[in-house]
Amino acid sequence: METLISTFISKYNYWGYIILMMIGLYAMMVKNNLVKKIIGMNIFQTAIILFYISIGAKKGASIPIITHAFNAAPVSIHPAGYINPLPHVLMLTAIVVAVATLGVALAVIVIIYQRYETLELDEILKIRKETG
C-alpha cells in the first residue's frame, strides 16, 4: 500500500496535465454556448501538447540548439546534454493545425449566428425542430 501511494505521489506532474485535459473535455461536452465549446476544444489541444513537451524534458540538459564556436566543429555532442527535440517538432505542427481549426470553427459560428440569431445549442435545436 505504501509503495502504491508513493508511486502515485511521484507522478504528480502528470496529474496537472490530466486535470487540464479533463477540464477541456468537460467544457466540450457540457456547455451550451458554442464559443465555450470552442474554448474547451482549444484547452484540450494545448493540454495534449503540454503533455508531449513534458516527455522530452531532461534534468540538467540545455535547449536543443548546439553551441559551437563560429566555423568550428564542436568537440563532442553528448545526447544527455540536450533536450529531446523530437516532441518539439511534432508539437509545432500540432499548434499550427490548432489555429487553423480555430479559424474555420469561428467562421462556422459567425454563419450560425447570422442564420439563427442565437449561439445557445438548445435554442438552435428548438428553432430547427419548429421550422422543420
Partner: protein
C-alpha cells in the same frame, strides 16, 4: 446532460490517473522517448546539415514532408473561411456614414445611396468611429515597420536561434492585422487586397513543393536537398542548409497570407466593408 458529462469525465480521469503510474519519471534521461531515435538527431544534425538549431533541421529537412502537409492544412483553412463567409447573401449596406473633414459634421445616408469615391471634402467612416484616435494611428504607424523587420529576422535567423518560418510568418501577418485594427479595414484592403493575399498563399505552397520537385528532377528523392548541390554548385552540406532556408521562406509566405485572409473574412463577416 451535466450529470452524464461529469460522470464520464471523472471516469476517464480516473482511468488516466491509474495508467500514469507506469510512466517514466519526469526528466529522466534514460526514458524510452529519449533513447531510440533522438540521439541520432542530436549527434548528427550539425555534421549533416550545418544547422545548429536541431528543431528547425528536423522540421524542414529530415521530416520535411510532414511540414509540407501542415502548410497545405493552413492554406486549406484559409480557403475554407473564404468559401464559408464570402458567399452569403450580398445585401446592399443599409446606411453609409460620411464625415465632412473641414467642419467635422457626420452624415448618415440610408437606403443604399452613396457619395462619389473621389470627393475631397467627405471621407467614409465606420459606424463605430471615434474622433480621438491620433495617438493610436501614429503609434501603430511608427511600430509596424519594426515588427515587419523583426519578423523577417526571425525567418532568416531560424537556423541559429529559436524561430523559423512559422513564427516569422505569423508575426508578419500580425503586423498587417495591427494596421487594419488601428486604421480601418478599408485602408488595409487598399494596401493588400484579398486577391494578393490569396496569390501569396498559393505561391508559398508552390515554393515549398517546387523545391522538392527540383530535387526530384535532379535524380534524388523528393525533398532531398543535397540534389541542389548538383544544380547550383557547392557541397551537399551547405546545399541542405540553403534548401531549408528556401523552404522556410515558402512556409512564412503562406502563413502570413493565411492569417491576413482569415482576419479579413472574419472581422467583416464576409462583407469587407467595415472591420473591428
Amino acid at each position: 446532460m451535466k450529470l452524464i458529462g461529469l460522470i464520464s469525465v471523472i471516469l476517464c480521469g480516473g482511468l488516466l490517473f491509474f495508467g500514469v503510474t507506469d510512466f517514466p519519471g519526469w526528466g529522466d534521461p534514460a526514458s524510452p522517448a529519449s533513447t531510440h531515435v533522438s540521439p541520432y538527431y542530436i549527434q548528427n544534425t550539425l555534421a549533416d546539415t550545418s544547422v545548429p538549431n536541431i528543431v528547425t533541421a528536423v522540421l524542414a529537412d529530415y521530416r520535411g514532408y510532414d511540414t509540407l502537409g501542415e502548410t497545405t492544412v493552413i492554406f486549406t483553412a484559409a480557403i475554407a473561411c473564404f468559401f464559408l463567409l464570402r458567399f452569403t447573401r450580398r445585401l446592399e449596406p443599409k446606411e453609409r456614414f460620411y464625415r465632412h473633414v473641414p467642419t467635422g459634421i457626420t452624415l448618415r445616408i440610408s437606403h443604399g445611396g452613396k457619395l462619389p469615391v473621389e470627393s475631397e471634402a467627405f471621407e467614409r467612416i465606420d459606424s463605430l468611429w471615434s474622433p480621438h484616435d491620433v495617438i493610436i494611428k501614429t503609434t501603430c504607424r511608427l511600430v509596424v515597420p519594426f515588427i515587419q523587420l523583426f519578423a523577417l529576422y526571425v525567418i532568416a535567423h531560424g537556423h541559429y536561434s529559436p524561430g523559423g518560418g512559422f513564427q516569422g510568418g505569423v508575426i508578419l501577418g500580425a503586423a498587417m492585422i495591427l494596421y487594419a485594427l488601428s486604421y480601418d479595414l478599408r485602408s488595409a484592403l487598399l494596401r493588400m487586397s484579398e486577391k494578393i493575399g490569396a496569390i501569396f498563399c498559393a505561391t508559398g505552397v508552390f515554393i515549398y513543393a517546387g523545391t522538392g520537385a527540383l530535387c526530384l528532377l535532379s535524380g534524388l528523392n523528393f525533398l532531398d536537398y543535397s540534389a541542389l548541390a548538383t544544380v547550383f554548385g557547392g557541397d551537399p552540406v551547405a546545399a541542405r542548409s540553403h534548401g531549408i532556408f528556401a523552404v522556410e521562406i515558402g512556409v512564412g509566405m503562406t502563413v502570413m497570407a493565411a492569417m491576413i485572409w482569415i482576419y479579413y473574412n472574419l472581422s467583416s463577416a464576409g462583407k469587407h466593408d467595415e472591420g473591428l
